[in-house]
Symmetry: D2
Subunit: 413 residues, 4 copies
């Protein structure tokens, strides 16, 4: 089918190379659209060349493969490290963090290539449809979105994998004959997620061979490895491992990934709450992200003022985490919070020494050349520094005024 | 010296059996007080019988040894488990949690024995003086506190260990001839802390032989151990390990301690911010507490409503953690928050299956018989349950209204 | 048309007696439903008898008029007074507060009368559709909702008032020949709202004759009136005005309404943010609610602990206000917060003396017989009470430790 | 006494010209200090020339009178307007806001004039000692503070006003023969406070002649006055009153003060919680500040995104208000929050039309030329704009998923 027969306009489809989006591609063409395909390289394991050939074979008039790894690490991941973002106290937000860079480039290409429509292969029950589309609408408020898995005509026609395979055969879409895994995954350089299928029973232990990125802690080396991470304004700027030093932002992340994977670091298995209010079980591997979280929180202990930390922890971290999870990265509130994340990290400079061992990230020490908030003498129990013990007495007495008033009424003992 | 010569009144001294509080005991008698000694058994390793003999030898008119382990676990530790309390994102508050039960019994005995004064051996720079005294004043607003390490006459006379040893010799206080460790510790059944001495340099790695409660993860068994913890309204009510079942509140905690210690679980090394505004380095071992935190957060994923969790996480957890750390357990705000902790846990019922392995606490599955918030069908990406994909479309469109308005002004792409 | 011809099931319609819901009533019957009508008396000015006749004339098989004033005041309004609820710092939530009692009774009747459906006349752009339906679904998860103003078949047929009038004529629905006001209103005993029409331009000053409940402050009495309000656990339990005393919960509220209306108290004109993300201009009159807010906040100053107040203000008040505004009253998070509202008010007992004058609610004094948190001697600048000035010195010195460390780096002067 | 005899060093005394600080001045000289005096003009009613003569007569070697009005308005007051700062929901922080500019200039002069010491006349029970000294220590960590009212030698010698008068006579300090008011005041261009004395009984109504800045609302003009205030990035940049326009930052504030005072705007009478934990009764007049609060909150309704407002309201406003009240303006956390206040106000541009009448500040309309967040068409209940009613249906259905799950368990009806 040639683009000249398309009558409904031009669509930029977020394409993965898999069965679903290939069928969506063919179906959109069947519906009368011209379709261009867009693939974002955010560090996932993928044969992009094969996917380009496949997309063109299916009738895509253009295929764009975009390497977004650097902006993913520098613009999304590192601010998240600075903010210690975490969802529901556990999940490091690996899928959410990739969506903004993917959606942004898609909108840029849609604008440049005069696509009136964009399309994606997300289901109608998950978080990703929300994340992609809220980003689309914020970035290009006049964009029109085609979400086939929410169109009855589409989802009723393709009720099961069998229907998709039949359609693929009809449209000459090549299908790789691999046994489908009994779960879904989403991978990028920050993490991989596993959900659905056998994992929908939250009491089923994931099979050992599910985990892809990290070595099983039980199979990890018996000898620990020691590294040093340097932070500058809360972002990692150097990793030292013996004689080896890595200083480039993207390279630092990839190198930490390599180490963390070897040592079985970053596995998670949780039940979380999706934005739309459904509870969902997910398993995750976040190797470098787990190391960076431990290290960053540790260097903040040494270098960040208590009250700034306290305010940031209570207000910025949970709110920014929720914003990311809910797909609101392109929003006035995210812009607002990002400015305060940056403001919080001015003093977060120093080095953390870590031991990596069978799933553990163990802090062995930390130091900072530029920071004077930690004062060994003042901290010492043996040395009298900075203030007199009598000051503590006054401090306690004043703090007790309110409690005594309350205690009189309580008659607690 | 007999009590009859005391002219200044009666003191109830929090006594540890060590050099410091023995000298304080003798000094208080020298100052003209009658002194009774009080020892709280909160699960620390201690020869209470020897300490009683020593206190009496030093001139204490009475010595009270109180077993507070059960109330410590049931009244302080389990509500903290329910609330996922944690200080500065890392520290599990082991010292803070013991202080309220210790102070409460001390006030009860002071009231019963007509002691006008209480005394303790805390230094003038730490958190513990604050925690003990705020509790004292709230519980018994008219109590008078003697804190020798804040009294110039005392701390100038006993400027170093040598001075204490000399005074001990003078007063015939027996001194155990052990080499002093180059750090201080505080131990109870929840944790042990290490601070001061060589640890004051935050870049010094703690020596391997410092860690007392837990096996080094590197020396822990090569074979993982699997257990199941049952929670009822957010509190652990059963531990199952093969054929073994433990159901008593205190026994559960002690058994989890035993397992966690074997598997090297619960070590921490951090720089934290003391209440009085000083940064301080501390190392901690919190074996059972670490297992319970992982397990409780996991069962909440399955059984706690998203918004209740979100409100509790943002408002109750950090505030209650700070209250504990700052010694405000006996306060109207703690009472206020404790009522909301209880209100939050009504649905937190179920079982978590864990694997313990070389420092790791790995969740392998969870289930709940009484909870229906998790709905496999609704959660499933394959099954259409509870709502139509078109609803998601409306949800997204409504969420985008505000973002589009903002996006129009931003011209982001 | 008789109910026997209805084939689609039974609907309980929230009926107002006006043109819109009368047309909806007739239309539902036309669609093949049996329709019962439900009117909630929440204190609005309404001819209920005439409405019942009208509904029956239109074909309703039953009409229920329910007096919900007492539960509205005691179950919804007074807890909101306790919590100082306010939306966006200004709006006292008068519409939101009535919705839960209205929806709850509707669900009770729907259950009792075996109605499979409920219906309402809310538009598709406002907050009320959300509030009613979220309440319906929480209270009776299997209920089916018919919202005609969101059904294309309906809203396309009735595109303007003219179409409704034509339909009314066709169905013999009596229409009161009053000139439609150029705005919409929602009235109950707590407030009246005005929006839409000429008010959609946020720079149009509402005409003097729009305001219905309160006298214009400029026309209010030149002589102030003085009253005393007694609070018990944060709820008003007595109003005293000279010799007159009112002690019944509902009567207190109605009497305060009467006084406030006379003195021009409680007018507001704001631009607010609807739940669905649209900005909207509304004008409101909340007479008694405004007096109670001033009085309750004042008595809390005297009787509520600082930290409890601080926690409640930051966490409970804004969250519970948003929950009400967004229609989530029947939710686990509202239940959770309501328990903490109650916990916060134990000590809020006492009397506030007020002067009402031309729109102003002026506090003239307050007292509490049962409360000892306020201590004149301690508070006095002249008398030395409770603590020594030296304690303040220590308090300040300890507070300054952290600031000095920071200041050294800043070189601020 | 000449400065040459001073042996203890040089003190910069915050001098008011009144009896207390004149006695402190003489006493410090008596103690052997050289004393310079510093008076800050923050808009209070004061005869500075007379005070300079008096200070020199008492032995001050230099006297500095500094006009800080502009920096007070532009650096402290306007950011507080932007943040809608308010303490305990009621008090506009007029004393707290002046302290930072006063303390900063004092430290600058102390540094320039090589004063090792500063001194002030604050009592040992209030907030101001804390505010001044925390600012001193943050700005100049090595400064030494002499607080005579906390020095036993001083406060025991001057136990009452009689003792001060006797000392004044001895030192030839001229005393103005005015009857002392039965309360204390603190005045600046933002507000005046009244506390202590007869006000210590919280049920005593302040006498009519206490109020100094504002006309009694009952005596205010019977004719309302209408003005327009323009905001740019949340700060007032123009006031229009008929033909009159004021555009200078300081002039705007002073002009609003004049109007507000005439119309009886800004009186308050509250019981508040001091930082040190004591409840205290205060009366306040904050004329211009009250107008600006109403106007700024109104323009934010029109121009500020809902979520940014919500985050700012919950996190920034209460925290920054507490920071000001507690005297922590010069702190890392204030710096952190101020950056987010500025970030929040980018879109807060527009005009608010107000009516001033007998204590009331009544909004009559608002507009913004640069803002598009308010969309009359989208807001309209009559016009279909931006989204389909079906979207609302989906929005509600998705929001209900979680509530239905909960409702099933509750069996609420």
């Amino acid at each position: 089918m040639s683009a000249t027969t398309s009558t409904k306009g031009r669509v930029l489809l977020a394409y993965s190379g898999g069965l679903d989006t290939s069928c969506i591609l063919a179906w959109l063409i069947e519906q009368g659209y011209e379709v261009m395909c867009y693939m974002a390289n955010v560090g996932q394991e993928e044969d992009f060349d094969a996917a380009v050939i496949k997309a063109k074979g299916c009738g895509a008039t253009k295929v764009f493969v975009e390497d977004l790894q650097r902006e993913f690490v520098e613009e999304l991941i590192y601010p998240a490290v600075q903010a210690n973002t975490i969802y529901e106290g556990i999940y490091l937000l690996g899928t959410s963090l990739a969506r903004p860079v993917i959606a942004r480039r898609q909108m840029e290409i849609a604008a440049r290539e005069n696509c009136q429509y964009v399309s994606h292969g997300c289901t109608g029950k998950g978080n990703d449809q929300v994340r992609f589309e809220l980003a689309y609408y914020a970035l290009k408020p006049d964009i029109k979105v085609i979400a086939p898995w929410r169109i009855p005509e589409f989802y009723e026609r393709f009720a099961g994998r069998k229907d998709l395979l039949a359609f693929a055969a009809e449209k000459n879409i090549p299908v790789v004959q691999t046994a489908a895994k009994p779960w879904s995954t989403d991978e990028n350089l920050f993490h991989i997620s596993y959900e659905a299928g056998i994992l929908e029973d939250p009491d089923v232990t994931p099979p050992k061979d599910m985990w892809k990125l990290t070595v099983d802690p039980e199979d990890a080396p018996n000898t620990p490895e020691r590294i040093t991470i340097e932070f500058t304004k809360g972002k990692p700027t150097k990793v030292i491992n013996g004689a080896k030093q890595v200083t480039d932002g993207l390279e630092i992340f990839l190198y930490l990934n390599q180490l963390a994977r070897q040592h079985g670091i970053g596995r998670l298995d949780i039940v979380e709450n999706r934005f739309i209010g459904i509870k969902s079980r997910g398993c995750y591997e976040t190797p470098a992200g787990t190391i960076l979280r431990v290290a960053h929180m540790d260097i903040e202990g040494l270098t960040l003022d208590r009250q700034v930390r306290n305010l940031r922890d209570q207000f910025v971290t949970p709110q920014y985490s929720n914003i990311l999870y809910n797909g609101m990265y392109f929003s006035p509130e995210a812009e607002f919070l990002l400015s305060s994340i940056e403001a919080s990290q001015k003093t977060v400079n120093g080095e953390v020494r870590l031991k990596l061992y069978k799933g553990n990230v163990i802090v062995e020490g930390r130091s900072s050349k530029t920071n004077n908030l930690y004062d060994m003498e003042e901290s010492s129990m043996d040395v009298q520094g900075g203030f007199s013990p009598l000051d503590s007495e006054g401090f306690i007495k004043i703090q007790s005024i309110r409690l005594k008033k309350w205690g009189v009424n309580q008659k607690l003992v």
